[in-house]
């Protein structure tokens, strides 16, 4: 009798298909995975610790660096949590622009997902196409905030500034053209025999297991659980918009692919509705204890300058208490849990990262499958290490 033994294979932290610095130690029986040990933390920057030493306004730029493929979704989650703590009412125009940007960010993040996921499975054309469209979203980012990725555009109480005139046309053109591009991707993938063979029946996780392991976002909906925070726990005025929440049936990578594609089409519809609702008005709440003053006051009046100096240097004291706010980020539920002791800095700021919790499911989804299927599962989980390691 020949004896067999398992082999240990190290994958990452420098590996093109791990989407960042993720290291997986695999135990293989032939090519079949019998054990996966993920190692994370290579990108740990201590954002939660840093936040305890910064005022509420100063934490905002740190949130850009969590899920760096969806900066404005992170900004939104943090800002909505602080506004809940401070009980600040946001003007409607600011809220509408926030929703436009959050949905464009969802498109941007999903475009990177489809690009990298397809590239990992060997479909390079989609990668080039999706990055072409992502460029347009980044141009919109640059147009309104001056930065392509670390936007830092939202403010507690509203926005840092109003959007320029060409914004509406540029966003409108993009969301009108986007469904056509999505048709192109679908033409390349949906019935492509290689794509279907690689994704159908891959990375199956039942609805019960998905909830037990804490999956959220498209990964949870792909398993047939109808749960979307934008509809079920609305924040930032999402209850005023009509959109469908797609749900999968077969709990596999192919269904998660379909769910995300429908989500992108729905995101275009939400942006269109928001553009129609966009009315002129203030973009910052009238709440001088908390918000920065408008820039023209800072430059032209001594009171404005003093006001700006006070908010920038001291920040504002928050009431004693604790709040949690979860938002539907492109990857899942992104939550900010703020504990305030009455000071101008959070006593504790906890970030609930969707990718961190979702990555936990990798073992359940991959045991007994081949190494090549693991690559597809990493793609379908859509993880970002900046958010996992914080």
């Amino acid at each position: 009798m020949a004896t067999t033994e398992t082999m240990t294979l190290n994958m990452g932290p420098q590996h093109p298909s791990t989407h960042g610095v993720l290291r997986l130690v695999l135990e293989l029986d032939g090519e079949v995975i019998v054990k996966i040990t993920p190692h994370i933390g290579y990108l740990h920057r201590g954002i939660e610790k840093l936040s305890e030493h910064r005022t509420y306004h100063q934490i905002l730029p740190l949130t850009d660096r969590l899920d760096y493929l969806a900066p404005m979704s992170n900004n939104l989650g943090y800002i909505v949590a602080v506004e809940k703590l401070m009980a600040v009412e946001v003007p409607e125009r600011a809220e509408t622009i926030r929703i436009i940007m959050a949905e464009l960010t969802r498109l941007e993040s999903h475009l990177v997902w489809i690009a990298c996921h397809a590239l990992d499975i060997g479909a390079m054309t989609v990668f080039i196409y999706a990055f072409r469209e992502r460029e347009t979203v980044m141009e919109i980012y640059e147009l309104i905030s001056g930065a392509r990725m670390t936007s830092n555009f939202f403010r507690v109480g509203g926005l840092s500034q109003d959007v320029p005139e060409e914004f509406v046309k540029k966003v409108g053109d993009f969301v009108d053209a986007m469904p056509g591009y999505l048709d192109q991707y679908e033409g390349l993938l949906t019935t492509n025999p290689i794509w279907v063979k690689r994704t159908v029946g891959n990375g199956v996780i039942s609805a019960e297991d998905a909830v037990d392991i804490g999956l959220t976002g498209p990964a949870l909906r792909g398993s047939g659980v109808d749960w979307d925070l934008r509809r079920d726990n609305p924040y930032s005025g999402y209850d005023k918009y009509q959109f469908k929440v797609p749900v999968g049936e077969n709990c596999d990578t192919y269904d998660r692919y379909k769910v995300r594609l429908i989500e992108m089409r729905e995101a275009c519809k939400i942006v269109r509705q928001a553009l129609d609702r966009l009315k002129p008005g203030p973009v910052l709440a009238d709440c001088p204890q908390v918000c920065y003053p408008p820039k023209e006051n800072v430059y032209n009046s001594i009171e404005g300058l003093i006001h700006h100096f006070k908010i920038a240097s001291e920040g504002f004291p928050a009431p004693v208490g604790e709040v949690y706010q979860g938002v539907e980020a492109p990857k899942g539920e992104l939550g900010f849990y703020i504990v305030s002791d009455g000071g101008n800095k959070p006593y504790r700021l906890r970030i609930r990262p969707p990718s961190f919790v979702n990555l936990q499911a990798i073992e359940k989804m991959c045991l007994g499958s081949m190494v090549a299927d693991l690559v597809a599962v990493i793609g379908t989980l859509d993880i970002v290490l900046g958010e996992i390691d914080r």
Binding site: G214, Y324, Y347, V357
Partner: protein, 162 residues
């Protein structure tokens, strides 16, 4: 109101002796309970009241502010009922351990590893209690309040000089 919350009513009925405090702030209900019955309470909430999703599990360090140094926080979410509940339980520094919630939710595995790593709270009966974000040979627990922001071997930051 917090008193009329469906979970609070049931918990008061069943675990009256274990409930330390019930607070409502900005529409969010927080129930503080004793550490001894934490797993019973969490299982009851999951099985009988449909809090099926453990959104988050974390800790707070109240060094010098409260009698018991650490506060464990469990953020529960009910998908069928679309509501949330926060359960907290104090953990003292002298007896810095708590039963693991992995037996109730699989999610707790990595989240508890993170609390173990960054706060140094030990979880009994955890299947795989190792550091997760810091390296295995790291000394100290970075999110504790007595851990310096700049790291262990550097002068503490005293603010900008200019």
């Amino acid at each position: 109101m917090a008193e009329n919350n469906r979970a609070v009513l049931k918990l008061k009925e069943k675990f009256a002796a274990s409930i330390i405090d019930v607070v409502e702030f900005r529409g969010e209900v927080t129930v503080t309970v004793a550490k001894d019955s934490i797993i019973d309470i969490l299982s009851f909430l999951k099985l009988s009241l449909q809090y099926n999703l453990l959104t988050d599990l974390t800790a707070i360090d109240y060094l010098g502010k409260k009698e018991d140094r650490f506060m464990m926080v469990y953020l529960l979410c009910s998908i069928p009922n679309k509501d949330r509940l926060r359960i907290k339980t104090p953990v003292s520094e002298a007896d810095c351990r708590i039963p693991s919630a992995t037996q109730v939710w699989g999610t707790a595995n990595w989240l508890e590893r993170e609390v173990f790593d960054l706060f140094g709270v030990t979880f009994d009966e955890h299947p795989d209690l190792r550091r997760i974000l810091m390296t295995d040979d790291w000394v100290g627990h970075p999110l504790r309040k007595d851990y310096p922001l700049q790291g262990p071997d550097r002068e503490p930051y005293k603010g900008r000089l200019s």
